[in-house]
């Protein structure tokens, strides 16, 4: 036995391989139980090596830093409810995860916004109202609340409110930033609307739907830009085939503006449901 213990005190020959495996697992899964690192004789050594590599160690597990895990999720476009933030990281308690999330907000690495009744952590790249804009809205809300409470039929001019909203939310801020996956990907309801519009405008003979007609049908629920964007996303997802215009000056300037740009300066003026999902 004593001989065996002596042997076990020496690091086994496959340490580098074990370390590489552990790193790969941590990168992929975010956390790994210490017991899964290997036999007890190597755990201590491996854990120490992982610590040197920047991984966090708890009593029972090694993990990627929680801040890194959260930043990665946000970079992928995730919107994370603060209540459930622990579900988005591995190897952390809810309290730990929430604390790190708030630290990210404090550092400006993420925003915390209220959506409905829920506080949600969103990427820093998403457009949110600044404190100045919030203050402007608060003032406006007070006016609206006062008018709404009045018993003498008091109201507001639509044009005044529109003007006040425009002042509170300038056009550049109003434009949605759509550079994250979450914003680019329309919800299933939106996608369903797009596909329904494609079906409704389909030419029974050719099986093609004219894109300006689809965009027109999606109004007012979708702005022209949103409809075009949704069509492109549906095409990227393989649900639709968008086809370049082949006609000879058949589109009016307005129709052209409704068609998403295609490759080599073309306009994508026709859409067709791909066969796999066609009814």
């Amino acid at each position: 036995m004593g001989k065996a213990k002596e042997k076990g005190a020496e690091p086994p020959a496959d340490m580098p391989a074990r370390l590489a495996r552990a790193c790969a697992q941590l990168e992929g899964e975010g956390a790994i139980k210490l017991t899964a690192l290997g036999p007890p004789v190597v755990r201590g050594l491996l854990a120490a090596e992982l610590g040197k590599l920047g991984f966090e160690l708890t009593k029972t597990a090694a993990r990627k830093p929680i801040a890194s895990q959260l930043k990665q999720s946000l970079a992928d476009g995730a919107f994370i409810a603060l209540k459930r933030v622990a579900a988005h990281v591995a190897g952390a308690t809810p309290a730990e995860a929430k604390r790190v999330a708030l630290a990210l907000v404090a550092d400006g690495a993420a925003h915390l916004v209220l959506r409905g009744k829920e506080e949600v952590l969103v990427p820093a790249s998403v457009g949110v109202l600044s404190s100045k804009e919030l203050a402007a809205f608060e003032a406006l809300a007070k006016v609206v609340a006062k008018v709404a409470r009045a018993k003498n039929g008091l109201s507001l001019l639509r044009s005044d409110l529109t003007e006040a909203l425009a002042q509170a939310l300038p056009a550049s801020a109003a434009a949605p930033v759509s550079n994250t996956r979450a914003e680019r990907m329309p919800g299933s309801a939106a996608l369903s609307s797009v596909l329904s519009a494609v079906d409704a405008t389909r030419d029974a003979q050719t099986g093609l739907s004219f894109v300006p007609s689809i965009v027109a049908r999606l109004r007012p629920a979708f702005s022209s830009d949103a409809a075009r964007e949704a069509l492109l996303i549906a095409a990227h997802s393989g649900l639709l085939e968008l086809r370049p215009e082949g006609g000879i000056n058949r589109l009016s300037p307005e129709e052209l503006s409704l068609c998403p740009p295609g490759p080599q300066g073309t306009r994508l003026s026709w859409a067709r449901r791909t066969e796999s999902i066609s009814p």
């Binding site: 085939e241 082949g246 740009p261 490759p263 791909t274």
Partner: protein, 666 residues
């Protein structure tokens, strides 16, 4: 495999080099193949019930419509005869034009049969079937027939004619007999004569003598000839007649007479032909917005028996296409996705709206080390407009050169066969020129007196006619008809100078003199180069309407840009034939040659020595022959340059009239 396929952005229906992804739009190929198979089986089982079929194939530019033709040609080989036809852009399509195109393409090679003409395939399959043999090895059966003695073969062909007439009494016997003789013609000249007669061309005296005919096939027999041809082919190798680029039939103002004529003709082909497989190909937008709404119910029911819309390649198919093309590239330093990066390849495969042609363009760019175009271009920035115009210009110059080369090859082929260039295409080209003339207007005219076009110059209206006839009698007859027209209104007659009237055609020359004596007729000899320009212009404008022209980077060029480039660059009002037609160079032939010499580049020194050297070698020859041989060796040489050179060597060259030259020692 070389990299030339990367330059073939526009599918050549007859190209030898071919890269295909069979799974892409396989359903469309299958639908056409099914129609061919059905026609053949009905022809054999129930010949009296045999009808023609018609199918419409639609797709955006670059989706692979013409590629589909090449694919089917390769896939079916000798099991069908393929005819690819682009409609006339400005003049109406006629049964004679269709017959001419079909028979012309019967002379093209059958794929997979070592260049055996399709005419041989057609006859071989027919004869094999009639003898109860397999129809898919026509060449083997023809070889067997060739081994027979002349008398035995005649007997066999007679029996075949009787068998066909027994099935379809309406078949034209004399047409059928000459068709069956094509593979067994003793000489190439006889085969050319047979095909010329079968195509409805005007044959010259020698050709008629060779095939034992007294006259060419009349225009009134074109439909009957088509009927015979389509029916007999259906027993072995059915004729697949593909009308491509039909968007060219639609005028900017809406459906015109050309579209109506096309619809009527094709409806008649469906009604009265047996065993023809008609395929109509067009841009999807133009068909659904311009062509189909203009068809009446009767025409629709005949043309639109089936409709297929080409799909764009899916992401997976795009990757397969890229792999296929890249595998064809020689000396690849890295595996797929080279010459793309991984991200570029994924981007290209996923991006919406990419056609196979666009993909090929990007592949070519990447292979040539140019940046590929992954970003959309909704509208060019002002700073990019100049660059874009420069690219368009470069692209159009090379497209124009390419089309000129093709036209030159066509003209040379016609010259070798001693045939005139197709007058319908020339008239079409001249009408295309009309778009770029300010004061003059050219319109097409339907008439039985040989007049094809009307030229309107202010209040003056002039009739134009291309005379292509090769036989003195038919030419004389055409001139006589024009003489009666000239008694009422001015006439301009155009004829290729290579088809000069020999002094022995006394009667025809007298008729020509009578025509010119009316004082209202002008006779214009035009050069082969003039004809080549007309053909090239026609082809360029047709491709522009079909979205088939691309700039130096491979991006499509719009039709208005092409028109603008043509107007600015080609200076059509200065073309010799245009000036002649407008009467801007009225005067003697000498003056005409002076103008030509001024407008054309000076021929190289080597050319100017060629004519004299040839005359020295031949001792005596006709001027036509000298011109023909010199221009064959040097495309820059013209008749005018040859004449000028010979006249400059008067100490050595002696003229016998204006048609024969010899060396002085004679």
């Amino acid at each position: 495999m070389t990299t030339t396929f990367l330059d073939s952005l526009h599918a050549d229906p007859w190209a030898e080099q071919f890269v295909d992804l069979p799974s892409l739009n396989a359903s469309v190929s299958d639908a056409i193949e099914l129609s061919i198979g059905k026609v053949r089986s009905v022809a054999r089982a129930e010949p009296q019930a045999l009808r023609s079929s018609s199918l419409v194939v639609l797709g955006p530019p670059g989706a692979g419509k013409t590629h589909l033709f090449s694919r089917l040609r390769r896939r079916l080989g000798p099991r069908a005869v393929f005819v690819h036809l682009r409609p006339l852009v400005h003049t109406e399509i006629t049964p004679r034009f269709v017959l001419h195109e079909i028979v012309k393409q019967l002379g093209y090679g059958t794929h997979g049969a070592s260049g055996v003409p399709q005419a041989h395939t057609l006859v071989g399959s027919l004869l094999a079937h009639l003898r109860g043999k397999g129809a898919f090895f026509p060449q083997a059966f023809l070889a067997e027939c060739e081994a027979l003695s002349d008398a035995e073969r005649e007997q066999r062909l007679d029996a075949a004619v009787e068998q066909v007439l027994g099935v379809w009494q309406e078949a034209d016997e004399s047409y059928l007999r000459r068709l069956l003789q094509v593979p067994f013609a003793k000489t190439a000249a006889m085969q050319r004569a047979l095909l010329a007669w079968l195509s409805g061309r005007d044959c010259d005296v020698t050709q008629l003598q060779r095939i034992g005919a007294t006259a060419s096939l009349g225009e009134d027999l074109a439909l009957s000839a088509l009927r015979t041809l389509s029916a007999v082919a259906s027993l072995g190798a059915p004729i697949v007649l593909v009308f491509d680029q039909l968007e060219n039939l639609v005028d900017a103002e809406g459906p015109g007479s050309r579209l109506l004529a096309y619809a009527n003709l094709t409806a008649e082909l469906v009604d009265s032909m047996r065993g023809l497989v008609l395929v109509h190909m067009a841009l999807d937008t133009e068909w659904s917005r311009g062509i189909e709404p203009a068809l009446n119910l009767s025409q629709r029911s005949r043309l639109l028996m089936a409709r297929e819309t080409l799909s764009l390649p899916s992401a997976k198919e795009r990757e397969e296409l890229l792999r296929l093309w890249i595998e064809c590239l020689p000396e690849r330093p890295l595996p797929y996705p080279w010459p793309f990066t991984e991200a570029q390849a994924i981007g290209l495969c996923k991006r919406p709206g990419v056609t196979p042609r666009m993909l090929l363009v990007e592949c070519r760019r990447a292979f040539q080390g140019e940046p590929i175009e992954l970003d959309d271009e909704p509208s060019p920035e002002p700073a990019q407009v100049a660059e874009r115009l420069a690219l368009d210009g470069q692209g159009l110059e090379s497209e124009w050169e390419e089309r000129l080369l093709t036209a030159r090859a066509l003209a040379e082929q016609a010259a070798e066969r001693r045939e005139a260039i197709d007058p319908s295409r020339l008239a079409d080209g001249l009408l295309a020129c009309g778009q770029f003339l300010d004061a003059a207007q050219l319109t097409t005219l339907k008439s039985k007196d040989g007049v094809q076009l009307t030229l309107t110059l202010g209040a003056l209206s002039v009739r134009l006619a291309f005379l292509h006839q090769a036989h003195p009698k038919s030419l004389g007859s055409a001139i006589a008809k024009l003489t009666s027209v000239a008694e009422r209104e001015p006439v301009v007659v155009l004829r290729e100078r290579a088809h000069d009237l020999p002094p022995t055609w006394k009667d025809t020359l007298a008729k020509r003199s009578a025509l010119l004596a009316t004082g209202r007729a002008r006779w214009i000899w035009f050069e082969r180069e003039d004809a080549e320009r007309l053909l090239a212009l026609d082809s360029l404008l047709q491709a522009a309407r079909s979205g088939d022209l691309t700039d130096a980077r491979g991006a499509p060029i719009s039709a208005p840009t092409v028109s603008e480039w043509v107007a600015v660059t080609l200076a059509i009002p200065k073309w010799t034939i245009v000036r002649d037609v407008l009467g801007e160079d009225e005067g003697s032939e000498e003056r005409e040659e002076e103008v030509e010499a001024a407008l054309k580049p000076v021929p190289p020194e080597a050319t100017s020595k060629g004519a004299l050297a040839l005359v020295r070698r031949l001792r005596i020859a006709s001027l036509d022959r000298v011109v023909r041989e010199v221009t064959r060796l040097d495309p820059l040489a013209t008749r005018a340059s040859v004449v000028a050179e010979l006249e400059a060597s008067s100490h050595e060259v002696r003229w016998f009239g204006r048609s024969i030259v010899g060396v002085r020692a004679l």
